[in-house]
């Protein structure tokens, strides 16, 4: 009886430490097992030559040395740069559509939802929709080009065009996402500042640049985060639309890694992991920056 009492009071005394610990335990456990540990394991696997079944042989930085001379790796890396640069167009495009739709005519809510809804569709279906759109014979794009006397072009069959064709497909939902971020941001813009700006004679571009955009900064930050992450994560569209081709011209790191590690091109888990590590390190630059920004906000909020 006395001991249970003592236990009780121990629990009671420490409840402010115990409660968060117990509440965190299941979530943290899951996350550590499925996310944190695998990251470390991938680093380790990247130092081995391994087919996923048999014994793994330690090769040190051999996989990374091989990457340096791998032409396909270079193409993938370069395509990642293209994705990153062009994907950012989703931000101004989203802002533009948001400004266009930020009115109060009848039915505008439905219009906004319909503009947004490419984002809700799975990337697989977006990929299919666009690959049919690009079809040389049956596709709508060439039907339209034909009317104005151009074409036909085989976007996805042309190694110089294919990557851009896929990026356009990716920009479609991403622009919708940025648009909705900005529409929400525009809703919260302070009307008094706009009035003050108007009194000072600011309008059009000057108004947008000096008064509206500074207030949209949180929306812009999130748009940057999701767009950069989205660009570097691109996989579904490539897999569905070209499967890396033609002649491997549309590969990106995420896709090339999958190809090396799991597809019919051979189970090179170690080499695949090395590619994944490179991609991870590139992303880490951005993640580090995002976290740093968020940390500044946290510090400001605590004060």
């Amino acid at each position: 009886m006395a001991t249970t009492h003592a236990e009780m009071s121990w629990v009671r005394r420490n409840r402010m430490t115990l409660t968060p610990l117990l509440f965190l335990a299941p979530g943290v456990l899951f996350f550590v097992i499925y996310v944190i540990i695998p990251i470390l394991q991938s680093f380790n696997i990247s130092l081995y030559q391994w087919d996923g079944l048999g014994e793994a042989t330690f090769v040190g930085i051999g996989n990374y040395q091989e990457l340096m001379t791998d032409r396909a790796f270079e193409v993938s890396l370069w395509n990642n740069v293209k994705w990153l640069a062009l994907y950012l167009l989703a931000i101004p495009a989203g802002l533009f559509i948001a400004l266009f739709l930020n009115q109060t005519i009848v039915g505008i809510r439905l219009y906004k939802s319909l503009f947004f809804f490419p984002f809700v569709i799975s990337q697989v279906v977006v990929g299919l929709v666009f690959s049919w759109f690009y079809l040389p014979r049956e596709g709508l794009l060439n039907a339209v080009l034909g009317v104005v006397g151009l074409g036909p072009i085989n976007v996805l069959g042309d190694p110089t065009l294919a990557t851009y064709g896929i990026i356009v497909a990716g920009l479609w939902p991403q622009t919708a996402y940025c648009m909705i971020l900005y529409l929400t941001g525009l809703n919260a813009v302070d009307p008094e500042q706009i009035e003050a700006g108007r009194l000072d004679g600011a309008k059009g571009w000057r108004m947008l640049w000096h008064i509206i955009l500074p207030q949209l900064k949180p929306a812009t930050f999130i748009a940057f985060v999701v767009t950069i992450i989205g660009a570097l994560r691109s996989f579904d569209l490539i897999s569905v639309m070209t499967n890396g081709g033609p002649f491997g011209s549309t590969r990106v790191l995420s896709f090339y890694m999958f190809e090396k590690a799991l597809s019919e091109y051979g189970f090179r888990m170690g080499y695949g992991s090395a590619i994944a590590v490179v991609l991870f390190l590139i992303m880490l630059l951005f993640i580090g920056y995002f976290l740093w920004s968020m940390y500044q906000d946290e510090k400001a909020a605590r004060r």
Partner: protein, 282 residues
């Protein structure tokens, strides 16, 4: 409001704007409209090269009937539901708890754990692929829905925790202090004070996670194969090889595959957008 409300512009500008919006919308959705038009055409239209003229007959029921009764599509849809719904429940439940712990209590490591969740949420899937696949295989869960669900719950907990923690931070802290003064146990505070206030966040997250998981393709092809457990995003590939070059059926199939999250979005629009734009306004 910016730009200047159209009501304050001349009448002519209003008319032009009202006409411009639907035109812009049609152009925006053109690839999708094309697919919708394909899906109601008969096969003969394609063999005759009549892609964009009037359909020679209206085959909505035949085409969609084929999708539902002559393919594995219903099985894939069922798999998607059986993967998505448990993931939503699991991830939301776990993150209500982690969010509560990180949002209410001050302890050493609080911010570090929080940032671990955020950072993990941004990593490329490929860095997890080989180890997670191994883990799933050795647990005997390869090619099962459970294997996929467990991973999804774990990964989504990162994003959900970010969301829940920030939501709880914005709740009035006096409520919790008042409850503590009353001597209410901590877990009761969670259950009776905080959880009821989290309903909007739970709704928003559920809709978002439903969409994310339904649309997942990468993990579906890494952790499953075949119609027994593959969700519809992965199944659509085999569906398309069953009906290769039959664009009317492939179109119908992909519209069916895309529909559940779209329906979810239009039903729960307010929650969905609230979830997606969290933090877009300060």
């Amino acid at each position: 409001m910016f730009p200047i409300p159209i009501e304050k512009r001349p009448r002519s500008a209003q008319v032009i704007y009202q006409a411009l919006v639907p035109i812009a919308l049609i152009m925006w959705l053109l690839p999708l409209i094309a697919v919708a038009l394909f899906s109601i055409r008969p096969l003969t239209d394609f063999t005759n090269g009549n892609y964009w003229g009037l359909p020679s007959s209206f085959e909505f029921f035949t085409n969609y009937g084929k999708v539902f009764f002559e393919s594995d599509m219903p099985q894939y849809m069922l798999n998607s539901i059986l993967i998505t719904v448990p993931t939503v429940v699991g991830a939301v439940a776990l993150s209500c708890m982690t969010g509560f712990a990180l949002g209410i209590y001050r302890f050493r490591g609080n911010l570090i754990i929080f940032f671990m969740f955020i950072a993990g949420n941004f990593v490329p899937f490929q860095i997890l692929m080989v180890p997670v696949r191994d883990l799933t295989v050795s647990a005997g869960l390869y090619d099962t829905k459970l294997g996929l669900v467990l991973f999804h719950i774990a990964f989504q907990t990162g994003f959900c925790t970010l969301f829940m923690r920030n939501f709880i931070r914005a709740l009035p802290f006096e409520l919790i202090e008042a409850a503590r003064v009353e001597g209410i146990a901590e877990w009761r505070i969670f259950w009776y004070v905080v959880l009821p206030l989290m309903k909007p966040a739970i709704a928003a997250l559920s809709v978002l996670i439903f969409t994310f998981i339904w649309n997942d393709y990468f993990w579906a092809i890494v952790l499953t194969q075949g119609p027994d457990s593959q969700p519809v995003t992965a199944g659509i590939t085999s569906f398309n090889s069953q009906f290769v070059a039959q664009y009317h059926l492939m179109s119908a199939g992909s519209i069916v595959a895309a529909l559940p999250p779209v329906a979810m979005f239009f039903m729960m629009q307010r929650h969905f957008i609230a979830g997606l734009t969290l933090g877009a306004v300060k």
